[in-house]
């Protein structure tokens, strides 16, 4: 995986699109979990939310790294 993406001569970290995609997946996922009432059973909802996002982001980034795209 290339460390940086060039866009019209401006370099962006290649993790940026992965981050944006994770955010796009995370948003509806969180709404679904809230609808199901999951967060009511958790001790620290914000921590759970953050951990979920990190799992998602890290998972996607690793998957992307392995697939070599």
């Amino acid at each position: 995986m290339a460390p940086e993406l060039a866009f019209d001569g401006v370099l962006f970290p290649s993790l940026l699109p992965v981050f944006l995609i994770s955010a796009l997946i995370f948003w509806p996922l969180e709404t679904l979990l809230t609808r199901a009432g999951i967060y009511r059973w958790l001790w620290h909802p914000s921590l759970a939310r953050l951990s979920l996002f990190i799992l998602l982001f890290a998972g996607l980034a690793l998957a992307r790294g392995f697939s070599g795209v």
Binding site: V10, E30, T31, T34, R35, Y39, S46, L50
Partner: protein, 746 residues
């Protein structure tokens, strides 16, 4: 007996201790936590910027102070708008420098225009969004002005600024959301239940007849403040979790139902009051009976609102009283019909009896509508306990109303301030010009939309001085002794804690925000610090000069255009006048929402520049609501199939009067109303004991005529000073909403 005393006092002591602990927890513990989190976030932001060797760690620290708030929802909301606006501003700055940097004059003109545009935009939105607009404006100055000397660097400056801001936001948001978080959604829940309990208490005192019309202004302002606070808290809390986003439509519905129920309570209480006043002038025993009978019904209603003298405290309580209210409402019309024959007094003449039963009908109708609205309000609150209620449609919410001309003038003021400073800079070739220009942009735009911009800028000057003193002490007395990051953090922590602490105390909050903004800047935290005392003092002087120029811009340049209360009053009148034609339901909707929107402006950030006008304009708004509803009631009665219809001239005359009540058409409208009422009564069988649809129109006309002849109402409508306008209150909530609504920071 003696053994009971110590036991008693121990229980008492324990209760006192518990109360004190609860009080401490609810106030001081929150503040201490806030200070702790802010200091930690500032040090983390500083550490991260230094570890990543970013150019200006001060920006990250300033960001921490700007987005820091006691509740995590507020931090995330403000952080979101701050980073979005910074990105927009960065793009605009790069574009501006890339195209116009060769021509300094047109560059500065374009800069002023952009700032004016953003300030105008800020007047159209509320809360954190307004802050976003303002920030998008002056971020351009922060990035583009330093780049004038070195245009090649503009892209680097923009990236650096955005990165620093992001570092500050992320560290503050993570710490606020993870370290012993306080959630805005909890405050929102409390605010909703308080709003319900407030209106329930108000409804109870209205229904029991204890409520005084003099309290109407206080109530009108309190309601608007509650609505603004609910909306701002909802916005912040919806950044916290999906929970509030899912509840959003319900909250809107609740706020809608609240304002409608309040309108009806207001209308009912003043209609009763007017009839009482009419009794004092020309006593009519039958009318007195009507008032007493309906008063008895209203009292029953009041007892249902608070069963066993206890106001509902939660949505579960509200759900419990809903069936009782609905059952009572079902019987109401029947019971009114049964009571109706009691109104007529055998010793009275026919006409007086007829008038009394017309009053009875009109008031009974009002009471029924009032109970309907109250049931709607209660069920909108009870819906929070019901999952399936989410499917119901959203309410309209309280859309902000902005006067376009006023917004443009605000933008103009921001643009003129920047233009002035630019000319000063070009003319004097002042070396501190760029940083002074940045600061002028900040003070002109941040404060341009505030009701008291000059006072705000003066507060800013005080914070510059205080921050300067602190920065000199720390930078030249203490930091040189710190040799690694840990010792530096330990040196900074008490000062950062001081800044955070004065921010959270309401009295010093404005100055505190300013100190939080300037202390890190004047400290000049860099990877390689420069210990230049003269430079720091120069920086302070430059900041003070920029503030003085901003004040000059507010005082000397556009002072005449700052009072828009006349326009506000005219837009209120227009709402009343428009009820005289068009679709009845649509007009009622527009009236309720439009006037309430304008009312929120009165208490909100973009209120009139002269605060003493607030109570008068509030009174005017309430009088407009009353007039509009009375006109609509007449038109509704006239639209019934049996009704004889209204003369078009009457409605035209009314529209003309309401569009500008200061003209002379008031007496003419009253005479016309009476003539029409009498004509209708003459042309129809006058049987006072039977309630006929034919009597509805004359009854509605009579209510409208009584309203128009009411001198207090007329004084309110014209927004003239009246004795009770002086007792409009400044509730503590007013400061609260201002603190939330007013954008702070750089």
């Amino acid at each position: 007996m003696s053994s009971a005393l110590p036991g008693h006092s121990i229980a008492q002591l324990r209760r006192l201790a518990q109360e004190a602990l609860a009080d401490w927890r609810s106030r001081d513990a929150l503040r201490l936590l806030f200070v702790l989190r802010t200091v930690l976030a500032a040090i983390v932001a500083l550490g991260v910027s230094m570890a990543l060797s970013l150019g200006a760690p001060s920006t990250a620290m300033v960001t921490v102070f700007i987005v820091a708030a006691p509740r995590s929802g507020d931090v995330i909301a403000k952080g979101f708008y701050r980073i979005s606006a910074t990105l927009v501003g960065a793009v605009a700055a790069v574009t501006l420098v890339a195209t116009l940097v060769e021509h300094r004059t047109s560059f500065l003109v374009a800069l002023s225009l952009w700032i004016g545009l953003c300030t105008t935009g800020a007047a159209y939105v509320r809360g954190y969004r307004a802050y976003g607009f303002v920030l998008a404006g002056y971020t351009v100055t922060i990035i583009a002005v330093p780049a004038i000397a070195a245009p090649d660097l503009v892209f680097n400056i923009a990236v650096m600024r955005a990165t620093e801001v992001l570092v500050g936001i992320v560290s503050t948001a993570l710490i606020a959301d993870l370290l012993l978080p306080e959630y805005a959604s909890h405050t929102l829940r409390d605010a909703v239940s308080k709003a319900y309990a407030d209106l329930a208490a108000h409804a109870r005192s209205v229904a029991s007849g204890r409520w005084q019309p003099q309290q109407r202004l206080a109530r009108g302002l309190a309601l608007a403040e509650t609505a603004i606070a609910l909306e701002l808290r909802r916005e912040a809390a919806s950044f916290e979790s999906a929970e509030i986003r899912l509840h959003g439509p319900q909250l809107r519905r609740f706020a809608d139902a609240m304002s409608r129920a309040d309108s009806e309570l207001h209308g009912w209480s003043l209609a009763v009051d007017r009839l009482r006043a009419a009794q004092a002038q020309t006593p009519n025993p039958a009318a007195m009976t009507a008032l007493n009978l309906l008063g008895g019904l209203a009292e029953e209603f009041g007892r249902l609102i608070a069963p066993n003298q206890r106001l509902p405290r939660s949505s579960v309580d509200a759900a419990a009283i809903e069936p009782a209210l609905a059952g009572w409402r079902e019987q109401l019309s029947e019971r009114a019909e049964l009571l109706r024959p009691l109104v007529a007094d055998p010793q009275n003449d026919e006409a007086s009896n007829l008038r009394a039963s017309m009053d009875f009908d009109a008031l009974a109708e009002r009471l029924a509508t009032l109970v309907d609205r109250y049931i709607e309000f209660t069920s909108s609150y009870a819906d929070f306990t019901r999952v399936q209620a989410r499917a119901k449609g959203a309410g309209i919410g309280w859309l902000p109303h902005t006067d376009g001309i006023e917004a443009i003038f605000m933008g103009l003021r921001g643009a003129v301030g920047i233009g002035l400073m630019s000319m000063f800079w070009i003319a004097t070739d002042w070396p501190r010009g760029p940083s002074a220009l940045v600061l002028t942009a900040v003070s002109c735009t941040l404060f341009a939309t505030l009701p008291q911009p000059k006072a705000a800028v003066r507060g800013l000057m005080m914070s510059v001085v205080l921050a300067g003193v602190l920065a000199v002490v720390v930078k030249f007395g203490m930091l040189p002794h710190a040799d690694d990051f840990v010792s530096m953090a330990l040196v900074l922590a008490p000062f950062l804690a001081f800044c955070a602490w004065i921010t959270v105390i309401p009295k010093t909050a404005t100055i505190g925000r300013g100190v939080g903004m300037f202390f890190p800047v004047l400290l000049g935290m860099q990877s390689a610090p420069d210990y230049d005392l003269a430079g720091t003092i120069n920086e302070v002087l430059g900041a003070l000069t920029a503030c003085a120029l901003a004040i000059a811009a507010f005082t000397a340049i556009v002072p005449l255009a700052t009072d828009f209360s006349g326009r506000l009053r005219r837009s209120l009148w227009r709402y009343a006048a428009r009820t005289c034609d068009g679709d009845i339901d649509r007009r009622r909707h527009r009236l309720d929402h439009g006037v309430r929107e304008l009312l929120t402006i009165l208490v909100g950030r973009n209120g009139p520049q002269r605060p003493e006008l607030r109570p008068r304009l509030t009174a005017c708004a309430l009088a407009v609501l009353e007039a509009g509803h009375a006109v609509l009631a007449v038109r509704e009665a006239a639209a019934r199939p049996v009704a004889a219809g209204l003369s078009a001239a009457l409605l035209e005359g009314l529209a003309e009067f309401l569009a500008d009540p200061r003209n002379r058409s008031r007496a003419r409208s009253i005479v016309e109303l009476e003539a029409q009422e009498q004509a209708l009564l003459r042309s129809q069988p006058t049987d006072a004991s039977k309630r006929g649809a034919a009597h509805e129109l004359p009854a509605a006309l009579r209510q409208l005529r009584l309203l128009l002849s009411d001198e207090r109402w007329y004084a309110d409508l014209c927004a003239r000073s009246s004795r009770d306008a002086a007792d409009a209150l400044h509730s503590p909530l007013a400061h609260d909403t201002q603190a939330i609504g007013a954008p702070h920071g750089a």
